[in-house]
Structures are given as structure tokens and as C-alpha cells.
């Protein structure tokens, strides 16, 4: 957690938002009136932040579930937070934010990645597929159908990540036995403990031979 770490680190005044800090402090101590009036007014109306917000963003062209987006994003935004908080695609889950649980698994250019460990700005022109991009109306992807049939979940929170990983597991050629599937699905934690049924679902899709 960033907060804890920095609590112990020494934060020098130089670290902290020097430009706007200066403007704000100037705004607060107008009696000293060293800053020009226009600057003070800008600060009080938070124009400085609005300008900064614009200047500090980076452009991003990204395709998510077939829809093209041209965005200006904060460089700090992760792909996961972009999906969940800005594109309102909350099917992709945040379980740890450290790449340790697999709940945020999505496909980028056909490969499974952990969206919490990827900055959105690194995904220039990428094609992202999330859980919402698998089904079309009532028509489910074979892996989604198999998860329902084999009851490969309980609370459902790790499920989108499991399904995205399960599809990738087959595409990668890592679904040749129960043992191999278990190994290649071990980056996706299911705290409800539905592992037995998750493996059953993946085997069913693999053996079903449908296009995935």
C-alpha cells in the first residue's frame, strides 16, 4: 500500500506538487500578495487543476470488445481501473491489485494478461477482450456455458478471470490433462474452492472441440 510506505519515507517539500503547490500557497497567503491577482484567481477557481488535468493526460487509442476508444487518460491509470472506473466494464474484477490473484485477467491481442499490472497507456492500439466481450446477447461463449453447466463458481467474483484464463489455457495448448490444466490455472485464485468444477468445465470445452 502506497500510503504505508510513504508514511515511513521522508517526504521533502520538493517532492510535493511543486508547481501547483506554489500557486495554492500563494492563493492562501494573498495578504503577502506576491503572486499576480490573475494567478490567485485561477487558483481559487481551481483552473490550475483543470489546466493541469489536461496537460498531464496522455492520449490513448484502444479497442475494447470491438469498440474503438480515443481517450485522454492519466498516465498512472492501470488497464484494470480504466476498464472498471472509466469504461464502466466492471466484469473484470479487482481482487488484489498486485498481480497475485488473477481476478483481473483479460485478453490483450489474444494473450491473457493481468490488467492490474498493466498501465493503460502501454496498451496503445491494443485489442482488449474482457468477459463482457465473450457473449453476444443471450448467446454465451462455450466456456461460459461450460462454467454454468459444471458449476465452476460460487460467489462469481473470480469467475470472469477464470473464464478468460480458461480460454487462454486451451488456446496456449496447456489443457491436455487435468494435471496440466490445474497447473496453468493456478494463477487464478478461487477462495470459494470451485477448482474441481473449473477443471471439469475446461476439459468439457477442450473436448467439445468448438471454436473458442
Amino acid at each position: 500500500m502506497a500510503s504505508k510506505k510513504t508514511n515511513e519515507n521522508k517526504v521533502t517539500p520538493e517532492d510535493a506538487n511543486s508547481r501547483r503547490d506554489f500557486i495554492k500557497k500563494s492563493g492562501l497567503f494573498t495578504a503577502l500578495a506576491l503572486a499576480p491577482p490573475s494567478l490567485v484567481m485561477a487558483s481559487e477557481n481551481k483552473w490550475d487543476e483543470k489546466i493541469a488535468e489536461y496537460l498531464e493526460t496522455v492520449p490513448l487509442s484502444i479497442e475494447v470488445n470491438g469498440a474503438k476508444h480515443n481517450l485522454n487518460i492519466e498516465p498512472r491509470t492501470t488497464l484494470l481501473d480504466l476498464l472498471r472506473e472509466q469504461l464502466q466494464l466492471t466484469g473484470t474484477k479487482k481482487g488484489c491489485d498486485h498481480g497475485q490473484c488473477g481476478a483481473c485477467t483479460v485478453h490483450v491481442d489474444g494473450i491473457r494478461i493481468l490488467s492490474c499490472l498493466s498501465l493503460a497507456s502501454m496498451q496503445q492500439n491494443a485489442k482488449v477482450v474482457t468477459i463482457e466481450g465473450l457473449s453476444s446477447g443471450k448467446k454465451l461463449h462455450p466456456m461460459q456455458e461450460a462454467f454454468i453447466k459444471n458449476d465452476g463458481f460460487q460467489c462469481g467474483y473470480c469467475t470472469p478471470g477464470q473464464i478468460m484464463s480458461g480460454i487462454a489455457c486451451i488456446k496456449e495448448g496447456h489443457a491436455n490433462s487435468r494435471e496440466e490444466i490445474s497447473e496453468y490455472m493456478s494463477g487464478n485464485i478461487c477462495r470459494c474452492g470451485a477448482y474441481h468444477n473449473i477443471v471439469d468445465a475446461i476439459i468439457e470445452v477442450k473436448e467439445g472441440g468448438k471454436l473458442i
Binding site: A2, S3, V11, K24, F153, Q154
Partner: protein
């Protein structure tokens, strides 16, 4: 088996498509982002807290600490130390009572700006000496000052000491953390003096009451929505400080506030299964009859509230024994309060009792199952009542057959498969069957759909599926046409989801409301000329039609019935509760876990080659979701047995492994071959369906089963969980 017993999970479509909406995912206009900054000491006072840099950071809307908080009205109330579940009163003053206790709430317009601003908060403390080690705080050991905290005696106190064969051992379980996959999260907003919470709660009505108490408002004025929970396992039984913080922030700003804990905070701020040291004294005759059993537990709690669980309770009734003593003590230390974690108490207790039973069986040179059968309890000696039903022996048989118990040798280390030592073990679990008063509204619509409403949650066990199966069974409406509305306030009041009581409570209410609804339909139909001179017993409600039993041509459809009576819908709201008859019986579920372990003597590696989990839970309402529960409970028990431990660095009073890389939970590769077996026989007493509850007992008994199997494989008895390879690697000598 009824035709509704094997339906798919009814919320499956929503869950596999990403459409299921969990608390922090509700689209809320104008929502702002908040997080909590935690203390970096375990005990003391906040000397100063510098929030200026954070307040000046871009996008920051507010920073709230104990210095500027607008304290909720309920904070004036004196703290009731025996009110289990009374949360820490966040930002009440400058005192720090555990590491990572929230000291500031930072709210900003975007997630990224909030995170950055939080990193700028800096506090200085006046440190006091903390104690986070239960073993070093035993001088503070005391009873819990309630009736449940009293010692229990039957026959001679500590009578085991007088037996021919005596076993006395200590068993330890470490702190375990629930860690559901969904982080604790909330969106809080206010409309005047009425708050709305989208939060991770296992009990909508309980959360309304707690929030009402804290803010000095009526529970009816609190709206709670917890329609989907990404697991909880007991963590959602409390109303936690983070929820109060989000409400305080929202009230101050007049904006909806979204707060999601970091995974690290899940280890420090929202409860855990408490570190517990147990002592078992077990005495038997040379023939193997148990004559005395003493079970003691010393468990940690926080410095600010008492917490206890039923750790020693199963020793009072599981085996036939005249002389039983149980004692339970707590030790307050400087860590946040525990909260019941799946199989609470019983899971901890069964590790001690079922390990000791195995140890004594070896002392007697008996098969552990034969030893248990010899001491089978024909009635509940604690309550002096008959069992409502008990199919424990069937669980033993089912498990022995499936695991291949005949391949087990009583001599440890006697079976090998290549370089692996093979061991077989089993452990018994049990949990009481409870039933709370529950209201359900059942509504038939003209289109033939059945709507069932109850404020109960479904944190994953399949409550909605169970409700659908029962509703469809009773009304004859297809399960595809049953619509469940649940998990939010404003609906007929349901219980908190916990204690394996949901099916017994809510299922019964669905059953009763649906039966009344069918009666209402039939009564209405009998007024129709088609059924002139017919009685209620002469007709049935089938597939949306009221049909004469004698002449199926005589029928009236629901649609025409509604048209004839100018009705849009027909509904019944009814409260169900346990009857007096049930009080005459002792009602328990049972689970027996069997495991076959492979242990590599050179590496100490333990593999669970085969796991068979058997249970007597009365009637199985839903095959798929019940099997899922049992698989999952077993996996939880595997975590408890082999890997889960929250390590505290006592020098600083803080956890070392507060993340999923270092706090190990079972992953897919840990599970090799898993089976489930249900006796599936109706309990004649428990409730109209004859169910007994599953969620908790599904985990209970797995940890000792593993310990017992590891002993059978290696001759090494591990009495402190988890059974990690360092504890058995010396068995290379076997």
C-alpha cells in the same frame, strides 16, 4: 430426487457474463473515491498528523481525521464490551489499538489522485508497548463474562485423568484470514438524514441496525444493498469501521463516496479466525471406551471487545462420554477483533478433538473409525435430548468405500507408492442446525412467473438457487420462470447469512409462502363454475393450471383465473419460524472428510492425492450448489491444514505476509482428485424440507483429516497448523 434438485445456479448467467453487480460496481452519478490511511504502530497515540500536503494535492476534496471529524451521534454511547461485533469507533480519538488502524480518510475526484494524496499523509505517534503475541500475554487470560463463557462440566471434573489409557496434548491453530476474492467495499451516499449503502454485508437487516445505532437514526431509514457478494466466509458479519468512514465522508461532502480496501487492509482491519491454543485430555478403558474428555481453549481477542466462538462445544456431544469438562478463555491483545470464519469454532475445535481421537486410537492399536464407532453417541448427552436424525455411520461407510480405506495400514509409514509415503486419515465435523424467523413474499404473475422476495443475501452458497428449487417444487412453476429478488432492504425481512441457517430459515419461508399461495389460487379457482361442488383436495395446481384430479379436462388456467377476477397478480407474504416440536430434539449436521496423502520423505512435500468429503445434511435441496459448497468447504479446510497462517512480526505488531503471494491459500494445482458424497436423507424434525445445513460443516474436520493422514504416512504428529514441509521433513529417516 425431485425434478428441481439438479438445476443450474440461477445467477450463473449474470456471473459468467460479468453482469452481476457487486457493491463498488454500482453506477453512481458524481461518485468520488476514498481510501483509508492506516497507523504504522500497534499501540499508542497520534501525536500529530500532517494532512496539508494531501489536502493541497490535485483533486482532493477532503481529508478526515480524528481532529476534524464530525462524530456520528451514536459515538456518545458507552461501549458495551459484550456486544460481540461492536466495531471500533473510527476517528473517535487519538488512540491507536492495532497496527494499520485507520487514522485518515482521503477523498478525491479520481482513483489515481486519491491514491497519490493518501501517500502524502504523515503521522507522528507516542508509542506504547504493544503485545500481539498470545503466548506472551497469557497473564491476561480470562473468561468471557456471559453464560456461554462459563465452564461446562458433566460427571467428574477432568474425569479423563482417572482412565486406564490417558492422552494429554496441546494443539495450536494460527490466525487465518477470510480473504474473500472481492475486497471489502462500499458506495455510501446520503439523502438528507437517510443513508444508502451498497456494501459487502452478509446481513442486510443487521447492517441497517448497526448503521442506525452509530448514526442515531432508525434502521428503517437505512437502505442497504448487498445483492451480490464476492464471498465473505464470515467477514461480512460485522459492520466495519471502513463502512462508517465512507458514510462520514459522504455526509461531509454531500456526494456518494466509493471506498475499496486494499488487499493488505483485508489482513488487518476486517477480522480473522483467532489464534487458539487448545488442550485435550482424553481417557479410555483398555477396550477403547471413552470415559473422560476435557477440552480447553485459549483464544485471542482485541483489546477493545470480547470475542468468542464454539471451539470446545462439539466435545460435549460428539462422542458418548459420561465425564466431560470444557473451558474457554480469551486473551486480549493489540490486534483488531476476530470475526467468525467459515466453520467458526468448530473448525478450530475439531482439529484438536479429531487429532486426539486419532492419537488415542493409535495408543489403543485400533482402527480410528472402529474407535469412533465404539464411542458413537446414541443421544445428545449435553442437552439430554434425542437426535432429530443422525447418519454419521453412513458418512463413515461412504467415505471408507470411496477412499479405499482397506488399503490403509494402521502402522505408520507402512504403505509406499514409488518414492512417496502413503497415508490415510479422516476427521469428523459437525454443526448445529439453526432456524431464524424469516419472511418471504411469493407472487404469481399473470404470465405464469413466480416472484420470490426476501432481504437475505447470497454470498456464494447458492441461496437464490435453493429458493428457486423450493419455489418451483411447491408451486409447479418451471424453475426457469422463478424470479428471485433478494439482498437489499425494503424486501420482506430475511436473516443474516451465517451459521448454515439460510436454507433452514429462508427455504422454509419460501416453502410456506408458496404453499399458501397455491392454496390461494385453488380457493379462487373453486369459486369458478368449472369446479362447482369440488373441494380443495379434488384439484391440483400444475404448470399454471388448476386441474381436477379426477377429470383432467376440467381445468382453468391462471391467465383466465386472473382475467375472471380482474387480477394482475396474486401474492402471499408470510413469516415462518421453528415450531415447538423442534425444541425437543438435538439437530446437527455431520461431515466426515477422508484424505489420502502422499508425502515425499526427502522433500517433505505433501500431496493430497484423493479427498472424499461426506456429509449428512438432511435433504439435499440443490445437488449442484450443495456439491459446490462441499468441494469449497473441503478446499478451505485444506488451506487451514496445509498452508494458511498470518505471521505477525511481534517486534512491530504487524503482519509480515499481508498479501496473496505470501499468505498462501489453495490454488488449482493443490487439488488433485476430489469427491463429494451426501447421505441425502430427510430430517423429520428440522424444518418442512428436512434440511440441516451445510456451509460451515463442509470445512469442519478437514484439517485433522490431513494431520491424521500425514501421521499415518510418516509417523510424525503435527499438532500446530499449518502442516508445512519444514515440520515433517525430518521424517526422511522413516
Amino acid at each position: 430426487m425431485s425434478k428441481t434438485s439438479n438445476i443450474n445456479r440461477v445467477d450463473g448467467f449474470a456471473k459468467v457474463t460479468g453482469a452481476a453487480t457487486y457493491s463498488a460496481e454500482y453506477k453512481t452519478a458524481g461518485v468520488v473515491y476514498a481510501c483509508l490511511v492506516g497507523s504504522t504502530i500497534a499501540k499508542g497515540r497520534i501525536k500529530s498528523i500532517d494532512t496539508k500536503k494531501a489536502e493541497w494535492a490535485p483533486g482532493v476534496l477532503s481529508v478526515i481525521t480524528h481532529l476534524n471529524v464530525d462524530k456520528p451521534a451514536g459515538y456518545k454511547d458507552a461501549k458495551d464490551p459484550h456486544n460481540f461485533g461492536q466495531p471500533l469507533q473510527i476517528f473517535k480519538d487519538d488512540s491507536i489499538v492495532y497496527y494499520d488502524q485507520p487514522i485518515a480518510l482521503v477523498i478525491a475526484d479520481t482513483f489515481e489522485r486519491m491514491q497519490y494524496a493518501a501517500s502524502l499523509i504523515k503521522a507522528e505517534y507516542i508509542k506504547e508497548e504493544h503485545q500481539t503475541d498470545l503466548n506472551k500475554a497469557k497473564d491476561k487470560e480470562r473468561k468471557v463474562d456471559t453464560k456461554k463463557g462459563d465452564d461446562y462440566h458433566r460427571g467428574v471434573v477432568d474425569g479423563y485423568k482417572n482412565a486406564a489409557i490417558v492422552l494429554e496434548e496441546d494443539y495450536t491453530i494460527p490466525t487465518e484470514v477470510h480473504n474473500p476474492m472481492e475486497l471489502a467495499n462500499i458506495i455510501a451516499k446520503w439523502d438528507g438524514n437517510k443513508p444508502t449503502l451498497y456494501t459487502k454485508s452478509q446481513g442486510v437487516e443487521g447492517t441497517r441496525r448497526s448503521i442506525g445505532k452509530v448514526f442515531g437514526i432508525a434502521p428503517e431509514d437505512v437502505s442497504v444493498n448487498s445483492e451480490y457478494l464476492g464471498g465473505a466466509f464470515g467477514m461480512g458479519l460485522h459492520t466495519w469501521p471502513y463502512e462508517i468512514a465512507a458514510l462520514i465522508g459522504s455526509k461531509k461532502l454531500g456526494k456518494p463516496v466509493k471506498l475499496v480496501l486494499h488487499r493488505e487492509q483485508m489482513f488487518t482491519n476486517v477480522g480473522y479466525r483467532p489464534y487458539t491454543i487448545q488442550k485435550i485430555g482424553l481417557g479410555a478403558t483398555k477396550e477403547g471406551k471413552i470415559v473422560g474428555l476435557t477440552h480447553e481453549a485459549v483464544a485471542q481477542t482485541s483489546s477493545y471487545e470480547d470475542f468468542m466462538e464454539g471451539t470446545v462445544n462439539m466435545s460435549r456431544f460428539l462422542y458418548n462420554c459420561e465425564n466431560v469438562t470444557t473451558r474457554y478463555r480469551i486473551v486480549p491483545i493489540d490486534i483488531c477483533t476476530p470475526i467468525w470464519m467459515r466453520g467458526p469454532g468448530e473448525a478450530t475445535g475439531s482439529f484438536a478433538l479429531e487429532s486426539a481421537m486419532d492419537e488415542l486410537a493409535y495408543k489403543l492399536n485400533m482402527d480410528p473409525i472402529e474407535f469412533r464407532k465404539l464411542n458413537y453417541a446414541e443421544k445428545d448427552q449435553e442437552q439430554n435430548k434425542p437426535w432429530s436424525s443422525k447418519y454419521l455411520l453412513e458418512c463413515y461407510e461412504g467415505g471408507m468405500e470411496r477412499i479405499g480405506w482397506e488399503n490403509r495400514k494402521n502402522e505408520p509409514g507402512a504403505v509406499r507408492e514409488g518414492e512417496w509415503l502413503v497415508g490415510y486419515g479422516m476427521g469428523t465435523g459437525t454443526f448445529g442446525c439453526y432456524r431464524s424467523p424469516t419472511s418471504v413474499k411469493a407472487k404469481l404473475l399473470a404470465n405464469g412467473n413466480l416472484v420470490l422476495q426476501c432481504s437475505v443475501n447470497d454470498m456464494g452458497p447458492g441461496t437464490a438457487t435453493m429458493m428457486t428449487a423450493i419455489g418451483a417444487e411447491v408451486t409447479g412453476v418451471s424453475s426457469d420462470n422463478v424470479i428471485i429478488e433478494m439482498g437489499k432492504s425494503g424486501l420482506p425481512k430475511g436473516p443474516t447469512q451465517g451459521g448454515s441457517a439460510t436454507t433452514s430459515s429462508v427455504g422454509s419461508a419460501v416453502n410456506d409462502s408458496c404453499q399458501l399461495l397455491v392454496k390461494k389460487v385453488i380457493d379462487l379457482a373453486l369459486l369458478n363454475p368449472v369446479f362447482k361442488n369440488s373441494k380443495a383436495a379434488d384439484v391440483s395446481f400444475v404448470d399454471g393450471n388448476v386441474i381436477s384430479n379426477k377429470d383432467t379436462a376440467k381445468r382453468i388456467s391462471l391467465v383466465s383465473l386472473f382475467e375472471a377476477n380482474k387480477l394482475q397478480e396474486l401474492e402471499v407474504e408470510n413469516q415462518s419460524k421453528a415450531d415447538e416440536e423442534a425444541k425437543k430434539y438435538s439437530i446437527y449436521s455431520y461431515s466426515v472428510h477422508f484424505v489420502k496423502v502422499l508425502v515425499n520423505p526427502k522433500l517433505g512435500k505433501i500431496r493430497l492425492a484423493h479427498v472424499v468429503s461426506c456429509a449428512d445434511i438432511g435433504t439435499v435441496i440443490s445437488q449442484k450448489t450443495s456439491a459446490g459448497q462441499m468441494f469449497g468447504g473441503a478446499v478451505g479446510g485444506i488451506g487451514m491444514g496445509l498452508m494458511e497462517v498470518l505471521e505477525i512480526d511481534h517486534r512491530f505488531g504487524r503482519p509480515i505476509n499481508n498479501n496473496f503471494a505470501d499468505y498462501h491459500v489453495p490454488v488449482n494445482a493443490d487439488i488433485e482428485k476430489q469427491e463429494v458424497f451426501f447421505v441425502n436423507k430427510k430430517d423429520p424434525i428440522s424444518n418442512p424440507m428436512g434440511t440441516k445445513g451445510l456451509g460451515e460443516t463442509a470445512l469442519v474436520g478437514m484439517a485433522p483429516a490431513i494431520a491424521n493422514a500425514v501421521f499415518n504416512a510418516t509417523g510424525k504428529r503435527v499438532r500446530d497448523l499449518p502442516i508445512t514441509l519444514d515440520k515433517i521433513i525430518e521424517t526422511a529417516k522413516v
